[in-house]
């Protein structure tokens, strides 16, 4: 069973909603059925083959090539299979997904993995805001799974998330972990302002110093035991989290007292910096 390969042949003039690009929708279809799947261009319904060259059939492995930055909802609600994207991709990638994996060799838009239940999304470029977030008016964001962004991200990463892991390789903009209810956000290169605002529970780990809100309090400075276990889990994703006592320690800030919440923000202090304080 070889992968279904799609190549974008025509750039849409306005955003194209392609929630059919998911292994769940394509896995049992013959070539002709895939070609005739509906996509939404603005207010009009078009066929998938109006925009894509399609090779292959009946597979839950999908490869998509081209600049897809105007394509929304790719991998929506997928529960199995593999989706690989070579190029940039638009908003709502992997929203509501419950399984399988998505890999993007390029940049992604806003709302990556919004309200996802399980699965793995890795983006090798930058991504927009609201990663793993809750949609407006919805009480709960990401409920499980893992999102790894190698580059930087926009606002409100992990807004209202409840469970799962988000790893950001470069800086995240304001409001990372806004109203978090649980789960973990790992910021390998820190974040801009207001990290952890309105946090109820959950854990944010930053390896770079970050500006703290006045409603967070330094609770203690130590090397928590659970981080060693967590580092082992992250090493499976190719991410190293320092946790040895001789390398440094973590400052634990608790808050946000304005809620009042029991969230935790761990900020890594390498040994030299810890000694000079």
């Amino acid at each position: 069973m070889s992968a279904i390969r799609l190549t974008l042949k025509e750039q849409p003039g306005v955003p194209l909603e392609t929630e059919v690009l998911s292994p769940d929708a394509l896995a049992d279809l013959a070539h002709d059925e895939i070609r005739s799947l509906p996509v939404q261009l603005g207010k009009r319904r078009r066929r998938l083959d109006d925009f894509f060259e399609i090779e292959g059939e009946r597979s839950d492995e999908i490869e998509v090539h081209g600049d897809l930055s105007l394509l929304k909802w790719i991998g929506r609600g997928m529960s199995r299979g593999r989706l690989t994207i070579h190029g940039n991709v638009g908003m709502h990638l992997g929203a509501y997904m419950t399984g399988g994996s998505i890999e993007v060799h390029g940049d992604a838009g806003d709302w990556v993995g919004a309200e996802m239940g399980d699965g793995l999304i890795s983006v090798h470029g930058n991504a927009g805001g609201q990663i793993g977030a809750a949609y407006r008016g919805s009480p709960t964001g990401m409920r499980g799974g893992t999102i790894v962004i190698d580059g930087s991200t926009g606002l409100e990463v992990g807004m209202r998330m409840k469970k799962g892991t988000i790893v950001i390789g470069d800086t995240a903009k304001d409001f990372a972990g806004l109203q978090m209810k649980g789960g973990n956000i790992v910021l390998l290169a820190g974040a801009e302002l207001r990290t952890g605002a309105w946090m109820i529970r959950g854990t944010i780990i930053s390896l770079k110093p970050i500006a703290m809100l006045p409603t967070f309090r330094l609770a203690r400075s130590y090397n928590p035991e659970f981080l060693r276990l967590y580092a082992r889990f992250l090493s499976g994703l190719g991410i190293t989290l320092p946790c040895a006592a001789d390398e440094g320690r973590y400052d634990l800030y608790s808050g946000d007292v304005s809620v009042p919440g029991k969230g935790e923000i761990f900020v890594w202090q390498p040994a030299e910096a810890a000694a000079s304080r």
């Binding site: 909603e17 059919v20 609600g77 207001r194």
Partner: protein, 319 residues
């Protein structure tokens, strides 16, 4: 989350004994606000008018409104969210360090005093302007003042209200809300309303270039929106309905002159507290009203073949 706890300006006039303005300059931007509703008038439960009310102004600089205030709190620019977070913590009796307060440009004493006054008030109202809602943090700044108002209701009656401007913006929000369930940023392309500010809100759509036509009604985005948005409006077919020549109408493909609502056309305007007020025209106009033009455009569009019946929908894989 708090939602919006609101009331009418009539209630403010008759009941409010604590009035706070945050990030606004009502003396110059809403000149009749003090005298008609919020500060000066004698009300049923505030019989001595101004003497019965406490007015607090929070802003980043001294404006003309300072003279009208009992207490002026000068906050450091861009620290509104932090200050509101501290207030929320103090309201709940949480401990906040003096040192942590310093970054807002205010002292812990000032904020504790403010919280005490808020809790002592019988009916408090917070008005917030663009100094809060349009600076860094944007919707979260507004959300934090609305949440503060909601949470203060555990102690006393408290409401929060945005200071709206620009004609009938409140009306647009209210009508969208009772027709679709959402106030703005609504997308109808699939035949049903979908709401996602940031994705479907006008500025974002225009800046990203996601739309290929625009109909502008009762607004002048060419004067207020960021340059990339204006450039996109000039690129696409833009149709403007406006009584006068505006920045937008100059770059539009089509400008239809309409009668001025409230002067030569009847209609309904919504006051900033969402009270609909009928507008009776005093003059006659040779131009059609906005409503008339939109109705005629709609009729012409309705005569075209129905794309929805021809399979406009694709909801096969929707959850």
């Amino acid at each position: 989350m708090g939602g919006k706890v609101s009331c009418t300006l009539g209630e403010v006039k008759n009941r409010a004994d604590f009035v706070l303005y945050w990030g606004g300059n009502p003396a110059e931007c809403h000149p009749r606000h003090f005298t008609k509703y919020a500060l000066m008038p004698k009300g049923r439960f505030v019989p001595r008018g101004r003497k019965d009310r406490t007015m607090v102004l929070v802003d980043i600089r001294e404006t003309k409104s300072v003279k009208a205030a009992d207490i002026f709190l000068q906050i450091r620019p861009g620290k509104d969210f932090e200050a509101l977070s501290i207030l929320r913590a103090l309201v709940k009796g949480q401990h906040v360090d003096e040192k942590q307060v310093a970054e807002t440009g205010l002292t812990l004493e000032q904020l504790t005093d403010l919280v005490d006054r808020m809790k002592r008030a019988k009916f408090g109202v917070m008005f917030f302007g663009m100094g809060l809602s349009m600076t860094r943090g944007k919707h979260m700044n507004s959300a934090s003042i609305l949440t503060l108002a909601a949470e203060l209701n555990a102690y006393t009656k408290f409401v929060a209200m945005p200071m709206r401007g620009h004609g009938n913006v409140t009306g647009a929000d209210v009508v969208m809300r009772w027709t679709t369930g959402y106030p703005f940023g609504v997308n109808f392309s699939r035949g049903y309303p979908r709401y996602n500010p940031g994705e479907f809100s006008t500025v974002d759509l225009l800046v990203r270039g996601d739309v290929d036509a625009a109909l502008i009604l009762g607004a002048d985005p060419g004067a207020t929106m960021p340059q990339p948005a204006i450039d996109h409006l000039a690129r696409i077919p833009t149709v403007v309905l406006d009584p006068k020549v505006t920045h937008t109408s100059r770059l539009a493909r089509v400008h239809i002159t309409t009668a001025v609502t409230g002067i030569s056309a009847p209609g309904t305007g919504y006051r900033m507290d969402e009270i609909p007020l009928p507008l009776r025209p005093a003059l006659r106009s040779p131009y059609p009203t906005d409503e008339d033009v939109v109705r005629r455009i709609h009729q012409a569009v309705a005569e075209k073949p129905d794309w929805m019946a021809a399979g406009g929908q694709t909801t096969t894989t929707q959850i």
